[in-house]
């Protein structure tokens, strides 16, 4: 029996194809809490997707379920930062209170308890989600608000030496198009529309803007390649799938200044000749999704999107897409697969997205922070942005600082300042009575720097020489009370949990890396573990398909180089 509800829900998607699969699955979850086989069959017939493929997609994404869940799904973050401040205790307390283990649902169907890899609320650690509502600063003795889902608003601390990406955040009402306009909003777009697409691309190239998602690829070149790509159809995607432990800068931008991101996307679409743009936001980011979607709705209502968005009969449409619990979808080709309604598994490259991207068409995919800088660059000119920072790294960069500091938050600085400025002056330095042991730079797939390297200037070359990594601007600070072996095991857990399973080195290698690092964290090395770990790291780095596998051993290798005794101080015992 197919319910009338289900039929009317799916009627909205008549005529669409597989690309609508994730939006449909989200709708089904909102109504029923899970996807029954019956519902999946109706979806398959509506969207013309093979039934097995629908099941494969449900299985892939952690926030999709093929069986009933509790009315409230509590997802406790278990990333290294939440672990430092007691996420295990919170999980234990919830387990005892609800009489269920993680992965289970209470008998009355009220709660499901889940462990989540990282929720992007690292400055509010320890954190959890109830369904998709974020809760932070949890304590195992005070769990009523969590269980009742009555959250306290979480406010991320912002600061820095200048405000380019952060200019409007906290200053302009993110829900008001009018307020955005009153604060020079869309001035960048209007200036861009008075220029030719080639002139815009030249401006972006001249500004020296580099991709802010971690790879630091020149944005202008990406746009140029795509504009010159084969065929007539182009797409522009904004990547808001930030999901790595310690990363939360893009959340702040989406929550605080959604119109700026849309303005950048509109300029980008005009420059490369795209009439369809996408913003892909991780499923755990509810507030960013609501803010962005609300902003898109207002732009449609104002006629700034749709048939005449960029001028008479110059159409532009923007669609907001939600992920569903898969870090790998931040990898650009996996993200495209996800929009296409598939398991988010990275594609082989070449071909590259600039020639063969979304739906096989030339596609630009840029990070949220990158796109947030487009409008100010258009408005103030390339020289303004180029003039900030250093010769190898123009402009400003957001850094998300978390862990053992007094003031975790998101800070904007120009390249060239010493790391100490961010860690000590902006983030307040070590907690009282503690000293900094290490800073994991560049995220979970990053490299450790030590307290005596805090005078290193923040730029790509200096960080590289110092054995660090700028990446997406993630700085996780660990003080002298932290056991870095545990941190490494938690990072290994993250990668094993988030490996998509496509290529052998990562699929099996991340699991074995986790097992070995857990042994080492418990000070129980097996004979030969050092060589085992080194060989595994080399193989994942050399032979994995995508950046996840290629960098899954980065933090471990970095720690082994810096502190040869850290993991293997028991070598003699092991060999004896």
């Amino acid at each position: 029996m197919i319910s009338a509800d289900l039929t009317s829900l799916l009627a909205l998607y008549q005529g669409r194809g597989r690309e609508a699969l994730l939006p449909v699955l989200w709708d089904i979850h909102h109504h029923y809490g899970y996807v029954s086989a019956e519902a999946a069959q109706v979806i398959g017939h509506t969207l013309h997707v093979p039934l097995a493929d629908i099941y494969g997609v449900i299985e892939f994404y952690a926030m999709f379920y093929d069986r009933p869940t509790g009315k409230r799904i509590i997802r406790v973050c278990q990333d290294p930062l939440c672990a430092l401040v007691g996420s295990a205790d919170i999980c234990q307390a919830l387990s005892e209170r609800l009489h269920i283990e993680p992965g289970e649902t209470t008998a009355d169907g009220a709660y499901t308890l889940e462990l989540a890899p990282c929720l992007g609320q690292c400055d509010h650690a320890p954190a959890a989600l109830v369904n998709t509502t974020a809760h932070g600063h949890l304590h195992s003795d005070r769990l009523d608000d969590l269980l009742q889902n009555t959250p306290t608003p979480l406010k991320t601390r912002l600061g820095g030496m200048l405000r380019i990406a952060l200019a409007n955040v906290g200053q302009v009402d993110p829900a008001s198009l009018q307020d955005y306009r009153d604060n020079a909003g869309f001035a960048g777009l209007y200036k861009a529309l008075s220029m030719s697409p080639a002139e815009i691309i030249k401006t972006i190239s001249d500004s020296g803007l580099l991709g802010r998602g971690g790879a630091a690829f020149p944005a202008g070149r990406k746009w140029e390649f795509t504009a010159k790509g084969p065929g007539q159809t182009r797409y522009f995607i904004v990547n808001g799938d930030e999901s790595e432990p310690g990363a939360f800068k893009d959340r702040v931008l989406m929550e605080g200044d959604p119109f700026r991101i849309l303005e950048g996307l509109m300029i980008g679409c005009y420059a490369i000749g795209a009439t369809q743009g996408y913003i892909y936001i991780r499923g755990e980011y509810q507030l960013p999704y609501e803010r962005i979607q609300h902003a898109v709705d207002q732009l449609y209502a104002a006629g700034m999107l749709g048939a005449n968005a960029l001028g008479p009969a110059k159409a532009l449409d923007i669609e907001v897409r939600r992920g569903a619990g898969a870090y790998i979808c931040g990898e650009e080709t996996a993200l495209m697969e996800s929009i296409e309604g598939k398991r988010g598994m990275p594609r082989l490259r070449p071909p590259f997205p600039t020639t063969y991207g979304l739906f096989g068409q030339p596609t630009v995919i840029n990070n949220i922070e990158t796109v947030a800088k487009i409008a100010p660059i258009m408005l103030h000119g390339a020289a303004f942005y180029r003039g900030l920072g250093t010769s190898d790294a123009a402009g400003s960069k957001l850094f998300a600082v978390s862990g053992c500091v007094r003031r975790p938050g998101v800070y904007e600085v120009v390249f060239g300042v010493p790391l100490r400025h961010i860690i000590e002056e902006l983030a307040g330095g070590a907690l009282p009575g503690r000293t900094i042991q290490a800073v994991l730079t560049g995220g979970a797939a990053g490299r450790f720097m030590t307290a005596d390297q805090l005078d290193t200037p923040v730029n790509f070359d200096s960080f590289r020489q110092a054995g660090g990594s700028v990446g997406a601007g993630t700085l996780m600070v660990f003080d002298d009370a932290v056991d870095l072996r545990q941190v490494l095991a938690q990072i290994a857990h993250f990668f094993a949990h988030e490996s998509c399973g496509k290529c052998y080195p990562c699929q099996m290698g991340t699991q074995r890396q986790l097992e070995i690092l857990q042994r080492l964290a418990h000070r129980q090395p097996a004979a030969g573990d050092r060589e085992r770990l080194i060989d595994l790291a080399a193989t994942m780095t050399d032979s994995s398909i995508c950046g996840l596998g290629q960098t899954a051993a980065m933090a471990t290798l970095s720690a082994m180089e810096r502190w040869p005794e850290l993991l293997f101080d028991g070598d003699r015992r092991e060999n004896g």
Binding site: R343, G501, Y504, P505, Q507, M508, R512, A538, T541, D542
Partner: protein, 235 residues
């Protein structure tokens, strides 16, 4: 001679080779008798380069490249037996041996011998993906499945367009699955048998063969492998 597509010259293990534009490193290597090991690759299926056993070292490239899909380029210098490439292959084989049952995968066993891979080196959790005996035609012994994807591919766009199979789970827990794990007769499977023909590890096996290996008598085998009765005749 057609000069519109001039041949591409490259070196593989120091030997100069001419290859047609668009050909892969694997094809170019074969043309001069250089063998590069493969696992997931099969002539009848679209290469997905998932096993990475065929990765080779190419001068100037940051990572190793999968020979089954990487195309030749002018002046390319390929090392199929460099230390990096050999180490990667050895570790991948060791990971496989630690994860799945390779008892009926003679080709992979031969590769393990070639690369002196130690099957116990990465001992840890094994992937226990189940044994399914749910139809008269074939059994699925997924503890032997290496996730080469070939069965999924021939079931889909590479041959039958039946789409009975998908990947379930993710990461280490990935496995071949049907719609909601339904038994094969309830799925879109048409029992064409193509998947059995491309399975390299005995994870898919004709039911008759499985029963013969168990030493079952012929009458038992006959009964167990009869096609199900057609639908009841209409009254």
């Amino acid at each position: 001679m057609d000069n519109s597509h001039p041949m591409i010259e490259l070196t593989i293990d120091g030997q100069t080779v001419q290859a047609a534009p668009g050909s892969t490193i694997l094809q170019a290597a074969h043309s001069i008798g250089i063998d590069i090991p493969v696992i997931c690759y099969h002539e009848a299926t679209t290469p997905n380069a998932v096993c990475r056993i065929c990765t080779v070292e190419v001068t100037g490239q940051r990572t190793l490249l999968p020979a089954c899909v990487a195309q030749v380029a002018p002046g390319m210098q390929v090392q199929t037996q460099s230390e990096r490439a050999r180490r990667s292959r050895k570790v991948i084989l060791e990971l496989l041996a630690s994860t799945v049952d390779l008892a009926e995968a003679p080709e992979i066993q031969a590769q393990m011998a070639d690369y002196q891979a130690d099957p116990q080196r990465y001992d840890g959790t094994r992937r226990e993906a189940g044994y399914f005996d749910d139809n008269p035609f074939y059994i699925r012994d997924y503890d032997k499945c290496i996730l080469c994807w070939r069965c999924m591919q021939v079931c889909a766009d590479d041959a039958q367009y039946v789409n009975a199979l998908t990947l379930g789970g993710r990461g280490f827990d990935s496995h071949i699955a049907t719609f909601y794990d339904q038994p094969m007769p309830d799925t879109s499977c048409v029992f064409c048998g193509q998947c059995l023909g491309v399975c390299p590890t005995g994870a898919l096996k004709p039911k008759r063969q499985a029963l013969m290996e168990q030493g079952q008598p012929e009458d038992v085998i006959w009964l167990a492998t009869r096609p199900p009765r057609r639908k009841e005749r209409k009254p």
